[in-house]
Symmetry: D5
């Protein structure tokens, strides 16, 4: 079951460079793990913004919330989730490789 | 180069059922052709809405406008385009199969 | 899996009283059927508006779109869907009887 | 009388982890008490957000404001309340068990 | 129990002058009746707009929806309802005469 | 001349409990004085929000700004003012006692 | 007492050229009369839009609504009114000649 | 050439009373100078808000930006500029004395 | 003096194909003339939308409104104008050839 | 390939004058370099705002994100990007000199 998420990141002004870098490192690891297990089917940078669109493939909305709230940078994210379904004009049931 | 598009369709009240069906048939064919050539990398229904998110892979913004404005139902669509780039946390350069 | 939907209905100006009544009758039957099968766990009127909030319990986002687009008045509805998950402060896993 | 509330929580940057945990513990107790007395008929997490939708059953708007402003985390919440009424298509007068 | 309502009226282009006048006459009678029974505690024109703010005093949200949807011009209104409560700085429990 | 005002209060994070209480005490006194003189015809809490709707009866917009900017908590308020006029369907020229 | 109004005009699609011209002629006369009596202190075109900003000097909000609703094109206008007061930095009590 | 500007002021929480007063004093002087030279044709307080509408008469957009960014409080302002033109219904080419 | 304009076109449902084509032909001629005289310094399609961004170089806001309202399709356009000034980081006073 | 960007800058309250000046100096150098290489085809101040519209000519959305995120002040910018295409009414393929 696919959900599109838009995630916007805003670090508090008081967080120093080292703390940001540490968050980004942990975020990258977590993100890689979600991609490895097939939960995160894709992630793309929105040009010009500290934000991304990501595609998640989960068993339930429950699981999606667990995955999203597990992101190390989750407390600094604004996330908007859109549930998706098979489109009648789609020629494949799965567009991801 | 990837662009995410959100397309919302609104048919005018005066269009009858047969005309709608004809548009939908031509739309499906056009959409299939775009998928066949790899320009449209994916299309998903937004749950509960007469709308979709689609992913386009094009050589230029020029080409993207040509593809979008070529949709038979383009005159009845509201389209919002978001340019995407490789995300630093992506583990693949191409998420589509 | 629960989804909250807000549905706003706008009939076109040209639709006469009888056609509206017929739509409403079919809508009521369809809605009752969704409640009988447990797919629609609740529906409430938004005070002062021709709109409702409804709670759906489905196996998948796919199923949810099928249910929503099956409403007789779907062509005249604007629907916004919010995916829900178990809240950590909830004292029950299911609030519906 | 039912009211749907959407509550979004934003803790100030300066609040430390311990203070947040203490707030969350007190919030959970307060929430459980509201559920026990039947005032809060349900609470659901909005997927991907530090926010919930809750359903309240109260005697008056007065009582609702007292309940909402009594939440320990109320000073850090943005709350939007929607009054609800019986829907003509509802097959039950009470959807909660 | 007080609710503030903002009502905006939009007549369809096709409705002729006589039909509008007839609606306005019936609206005035209905409104007067609601004021007579004390359900509508006040109604004020919003300067420069075909809209009003009204104050309703009802036993329940149920009753409020019945009153609002009973307005002859209800099909042409957009209504937004805000539930109110006693304010701690109020020096009276009832501001209306 | 009546004006409806919506006032939303946001205290800065750095203001301590005692300062807030002091502000609220002074606000209550000022508000009572405005009610005593008939300038503030009513004030109601918006359910679930640190906000109110208030009705002001003034000689001029000038006077209204003086009254509003005189509120002790004015620097922490966002205020939106709506000018009102007699409604053709009103059965009284003054709804306040 | 000054009020700034923004007026946006939208003629219905069905209104023909002659009817529009007739409305514009009557509007011009009415507008001139309001300027002659000093009620309308100024009117300016918003560049690129079928809209204006106007300044009204009236005795009361009541009078303002009468003036605004008296515009021949009022049924086709969307009007937003902002009450103004003397600014502490103003070097004149009246900027209009 | 006339431009309408809406300016909203927000001082940072950390700025103390004396600093604010100093800014306001310098702002008043600068504003008076702009009025004296005829660049600022008018300034009005928006009732209930720390904001104003101002009318500027300049030779060019260039000059307008210089004037606006020269305000001592410019770093704490949000400014929105609307270019104006002669209105066909205006009975004078200049409404300011 | 440069102004950026965003123009969105919406033809009424009732306008037939031939009328649209005629409007587009006249629009093209008018647009070419504005480019020839140097008033329109550039025009670009917004990808996926029946809309453009255009850059105008005019002597006055007056002239800009005349140019914009002279577009054959002006009655079907929504136009938003933004006044521009020389940017301190610009390395040229004129970016257009 | 052209993209229009709107960039709004907000420095944190805590950043002192010297740090701001240093950022602005580096920004100017970076901006000049982008103009020298032809990537930035133009940059204009939005009158009255600490914001600009800029035109970028890039090989790919990838390159655009690299250029934008390379701005020294990028962490303090909000950027919105609009992809552009050749307009059918354009009389030149390149409006920049």
């Amino acid at each position: 079951m696919l959900f599109l998420a838009r995630m916007d990141v805003t670090f508090p002004e008081s967080m120093d460079r080292a703390a940001r870098a540490e968050y980004q490192k942990r975020e990258k690891e977590y993100s890689a793990e979600q991609q490895r297990t097939g939960v995160m089917r894709g992630i793309w940078r929105i040009v010009g913004e500290y934000a991304n669109y990501s595609m998640f493939d989960v068993e339930s909305a429950e699981q999606l919330h667990d995955v999203l709230s597990g992101f190390p940078m989750f407390p600094y994210m604004s996330v908007k989730v859109t549930p998706l379904a098979q489109h009648p004009n789609a020629t494949k049931s799965d567009f991801f490789g």
